[in-house]
Symmetry: C2
Subunit: 343 residues, 2 copies
């Protein structure tokens, strides 16, 4: 295990408020983690340096990258044409062994595609995946995965998401035996598409704590810890979920517009709504991991706060320390042993 | 066109409060529609008769059916083994031409499967579909379809959903040129699964007002009138959406449990929430149509109120009067003419 500090690359140019939020987040993380971490801020030196003025710890340094990948840039173009970008330079530092982990609030698809190509996969992983945390009635979030790394997933991909999600939830969320559900249109075995029916059989035998099919309503109910699905459905559900808060706000605004009393009621209630629904905003969880690559990458929302970025750095350090990748490799190796029954 | 009354079969045993809500709904519909409708209540005569006592209009009558299909019964079993059920007897009345339309708050999958097998499809329709209405920021609902009739839809199925949804929205919702979006993981052409990419090309050329791909977040935004998807995603999104209200309630309850002040705030706010979110409950729209069968079938939620059932009956009459099925047939015939460019 690592006894030296964990070296984390922070893509300092990724988010909507880069590099200000990134630098603030980095400094907060350093305060929390002390000598446990060494931070490498990658990005335009002339933009980052002034924000670090007066701060002279040796555990934070800047590596210059002149280019910045935008949110709308085509992920597949980065590897070919954007090698001076903070995203590429940062991931290349991890690939070459100069860093242990990579954190970004930039272009999610870009990080995913570039990290997969540069770093490769953990042995045994069919496809890397990215998940997302959704709030539930129980207060404990559900990990939904995949949410967009792969569309048209094959059954084996779904089975691998289940294994990777289980390892993550056990090591990082501290759930001893996380439950896994397969997202489907009904609970009975045999429901759904061909791919999902085959995945059902694979997941039942891959060693995870599989409870069977779950439906759309089970995501927010918290009845399982991990919901496995193809990236097509996962992405649609996630974007739908993220739009609910905006929809509610527009509804309450329409109500407030009915009159002065209604306006006052909504005025009182606004902070309540905010407080009650705080964790529908997934950046509070501090980013999501890209699972299955040979490396540690945490991706956050473009609008992440400095605190969320600090959380992402902490999480990256934890993923390295707890050897999530090594555990995934072992779990996949044992799940594919043909003679072993894991049920 | 029909000048005689429209004959509507009501499955009087379908819902959670059958036959009480059904009979009440039927009587309300008769008041509204007058001589425009003749109602046939199908179900256990001994249960229904007492509720009609004192009501002697010739425009409502009972046809006895001894069996009742439950919500958990396997849809495919009805055609074989449940021929005495109100669901089967009612649909058979439509098939044989003794009724023009069928309304039920019972087993959705059962109505769908049995109606499709008994009545067959409108010429040109690859697969019948069932849609659902979701509320939007604009106040005008979005029609999401398919929401569970067909999983593993082929591109042509998706194209047909677009045509059927457009005809329905134009004739029944009064939208002159309804906009259609294809549910996908990104807006750019070329995104998504193989099936969706092929469907994109078909829908662009089938004569509907196609705006291209839409994402999960566009469903509640109201940016399009119709969202087309496979029944697998549609069902998952719909069940997720239906679970949001319960999730919010549990969140507010948790807030109220923090103290007496919080409890009072939530107490004041509860009716506001209910009022603001009323139409997230889709039964308010009065059921959804099964589109593409040779006949008119409206299916409602099991917990439908008498008013919702009355609305469903009104909608069934309207679908017959406006010749939705004939219009679908013509639209599909013209969309498949190989020489015609409908773009």
């Amino acid at each position: 295990m690592h006894t030296r500090p964990v070296r984390v690359v922070l893509d300092a140019m990724g988010g909507d408020h880069a590099p200000a939020h990134e630098v603030q987040g980095a400094l907060t993380a350093l305060q929390e983690l002390g000598t446990d971490v060494e931070l490498i801020l990658v990005g335009r030196e002339s933009d980052i340096s002034p924000l670090l003025a007066g701060f002279t710890k040796h555990s934070i340094r800047i590596i210059h990258a002149s280019d910045v990948v935008g949110m709308g840039d085509e992920p597949s173009s980065i590897l070919k044409n954007r090698r001076d970008s903070s995203l590429y330079v940062g991931l290349e530092l991890m690939r070459s062994g100069q860093a242990d982990a990579f954190v970004s609030t930039g272009n999610t698809g870009g990080v995913m595609a570039t990290a997969t190509m540069l770093c490769g996969r953990i042995p045994g992983v069919s496809r890397p995946t990215i998940g997302s945390f959704l709030p539930t009635k129980t207060g404990r979030p559900t990990l939904l995965l995949d949410v967009g790394a792969n569309v048209d997933s094959k059954p084996k991909f779904l089975s691998d998401y289940a294994v990777m999600g289980s390892v993550y939830a056990r090591l990082m969320l501290g759930i001893p035996s996380p439950t896994v559900g397969l997202l489907n249109v009904g609970e009975e075995e045999g429901k759904g598409t061909e791919v999902v029916r085959e995945a059902y059989t694979l997941i039942r035998n891959n060693g995870v704590n599989f409870v069977g099919n779950v439906e759309g309503r089970d995501i927010l109910s918290g009845s399982v810890d991990i919901v496995v699905c193809d990236g097509f459905e996962g992405n649609i559900v996630l974007k739908f979920a993220e739009s609910v808060l905006g929809f509610l706000k527009s509804r309450f605004k329409a109500y407030a517009d009915r009159g002065i009393v209604q306006k006052m009621i909504i005025g009182v209630f606004r902070p309540v709504l905010k407080s009650a629904l705080r964790d529908m905003d997934y950046q509070e969880y501090g980013g999501v991991p890209l699972l299955g690559i040979n490396g540690v990458a945490i991706i956050g929302h473009g609008s992440s706060s400095p605190l969320a970025i600090a959380n992402m750095i902490q999480r990256a350090v934890e993923m390295v320390r707890k050897d999530v990748n090594g555990t995934i490799q072992k779990a996949l190796a044992s799940s594919s042993e043909p003679t072993k029954e894991n049920v």
